[in-house]
């Protein structure tokens, strides 16, 4: 089982992000996803920087994948996407249909990201024809749904693409045209002052009775819980999961990666280091108790 470092969902200062990846390249990871997936205004690392970083990190022998924006609205954002694809040395993580189409037109292999809405084997087969080589199911697809889909793939006589499952981190739940971080600061989006940079793990949102609930991350909303599928390793193996995706958090990622490196080598599952993922069990995503 391989380990991947998912794309950085938050907005970190340039030096922090570069230092993070230059450390991460020495961790026991097999795949590193780079690039901005949330907001095109975040330019501490520009498109050229991400591409340069991809080239630099690729020398380690790890697979580097360039991830695309989940929500594309502007022509300039399409331009960035074209640059990533035409860079040519890396696979693309396609996080919307624009990326799928541009990869398809240019015959560039791609990873189907978790916001792509692939719910059945027939859709997956079509995307495989388009160049999909690896699939990351959406957050609401847990063990039973993935197993059903895998069984349907087999029954249809098809091969599964590589299967990558979100194993650690806050779950991306929704995207909007609106920036909620700017809204929380009573700023218009076009003059947001890049306030996301002050929240390296997102901006906490709690209910009125004080229960932590969600994280605001610019135009994206994440769940509060840092989910951990480490205890589910037997089920992950049964499903034939090829890759465990670990989403970067602000602190302690080296330890998280080391933990999952031990976990994948262990027959017995290791104790949890994060929250239970309700979705994995076919329940509301935020349900912590089984």
């Amino acid at each position: 089982m391989k380990l991947s470092l998912g794309p950085l969902q938050y907005f970190w200062p340039r030096e922090r992000a570069l230092a993070f990846y230059r450390a991460a390249v020495r961790w026991p990871l097999d795949i590193i996803y780079l690039g901005e997936t949330v907001c095109s205004k975040r330019r501490e690392l520009g498109t050229g920087d991400w591409i340069d970083l991809a080239s630099e990190l690729a020398e380690s022998g790890k697979q580097i994948v360039l991830s695309s924006l989940a929500l594309i609205e502007a022509e300039s954002e399409l331009g960035v996407l074209k640059r990533l694809i035409e860079h040519g040395d890396c696979w693309i993580e396609a996080n919307d249909l624009s990326a799928v189409q541009l990869c398809r037109e240019r015959r560039v292999p791609f990873v189907g990201g978790p916001s792509l809405n692939v719910y059945n084997h027939a859709a997956l087969a079509m995307l495989c024809d388009d160049g999909l080589r690896r699939w990351v199911p959406g957050v609401e697809q847990g063990f039973a749904l993935i197993r059903e889909l895998r069984d349907a793939v087999r029954a249809a006589g098809m091969d599964m693409p590589e299967l990558e499952v979100i194993a650690y981190g806050r779950l991306p739940l929704s995207w909007s045209a609106r920036c909620f971080t700017a809204r929380a600061h009573d700023l218009p989006k076009d003059q947001c002052g890049f306030r996301c940079i002050d929240y390296p793990d997102g901006l906490p949102l709690a209910t009125r009775d004080g229960a932590p609930f969600l994280r605001i991350n610019g135009i994206q909303i994440l769940g509060e819980e840092v989910t951990d599928l480490g205890p589910e390793l037997p089920g992950l193996r049964e499903l034939g999961v090829d890759i465990l995706r670990l989403y970067p958090g602000a602190d302690g990622m080296a330890d998280v990666v080391a933990h999952f490196d031990r976990a994948r080598a262990s027959i017995l599952p290791l104790p949890a280091i994060g929250s239970r993922n309700g979705y994995w069990h076919g329940e509301p995503g935020m349900r912590r108790e089984g």
Binding site: A70, L71, I72, E73, A74, E75, L78, D96, L97, S98, V100, Q101, E105, S115, N117, Y119, N120, H121, A122, M126, G138, V139, E140, L145, E148, D151, L171, L173, S174, W175, S176, A177, R178, C179, F180, R183, A184, P188, K189, L203, P204, L205, A206, T207, R208, D209, G210, A211, F213, L214, I216, I221, G223, G278, Y279, G282, P284, G285, M286, R287
Partner: protein
Amino acid sequence: MQLVCPAGNLPALQAAIDAGADAVYAGLRDQTNARAFPGLNFSDDELRAGIAYAHARGRKVYLALNTYPDSVRLAQWFAAVDKAASFGCDAIIAAEMAVLDYAVRTHPRLPRHLSVQGSATTAPALRYMHERFGIARAVLPRVLAIAQVERLCESAPVPLEVFAFGSLCIMVEGRCQLSSYVTGASPNRHGVCSPAKFVRWHESADGHRSVHLNEVLIDEYEPEEAAGYPTVCKGRFDVRGEIFHALEEPTSLNTLELLPRLAQAGVAALKIEGRQRGVAYVGSVTRTWRAAIDTYYAAEARAWSVQAAWQKTLAAHAEGHQTTLGPYHRHWH
């Protein structure tokens, strides 16, 4: 520019047609559409009757099949496509690739519209759906500013339909798991957002009310305060020590003042949201937009303006009696 109106049941369909809708959209009584609410939608006989009613008056009926089936449930969605074809629906509105693929292979002459749930916001995304499934039209997610809609009208391979009025999903449609995170029931898989069976109201002796969605406190209200339906995106929460509508206020989209720009951009159809709403809403909102559109096309160039009576009627039917230009207006973002 066509006016496409919601029909949650047969009386609403008839009200929309009578009030001047060019087309109505409807769903079957199951999870194949994104308004799978109890007591809503059409039996087979009702759908046949609705189609007959519309066709007798030269109007169209589109069937919404815009949820995302898992592999084991595909047959149910395929059967719904068959039904749309055999009943004589004028188009299906679908989002999911396997459903669209089945439709184009099995009923190539049944037009396919890409649903808003398909989350296509760019020319390449629309190209994909057009090349792959021959879509005849696409409904845009409520994320683009008016200038972006205008540009997309030029570059899109198919005519576009946009939301004109109704409840405002503030998240990209087809990309929101807030309901499923809290309740396990999702718009994509189950055709529902924040289903009523998870809603729990509590009123204190002093008149204060609180509302939970599956044990998550969505909002609290003063005794005289108006309360909306508790979706996560329209609750009040604590962010940075302040309690406010952190995601969006209870308000409705209203693009009436943009009508000339949408028409000049070449938008093919204006969509009214609200299959969950009653006959009074459907009739009144449809009649107002019919009048606005007809007046626009009858007017000399640039002589059209929004009439106060129209806005008053629409505001009366809006969530919290508030309306917004929403994402069409850059300041909303």
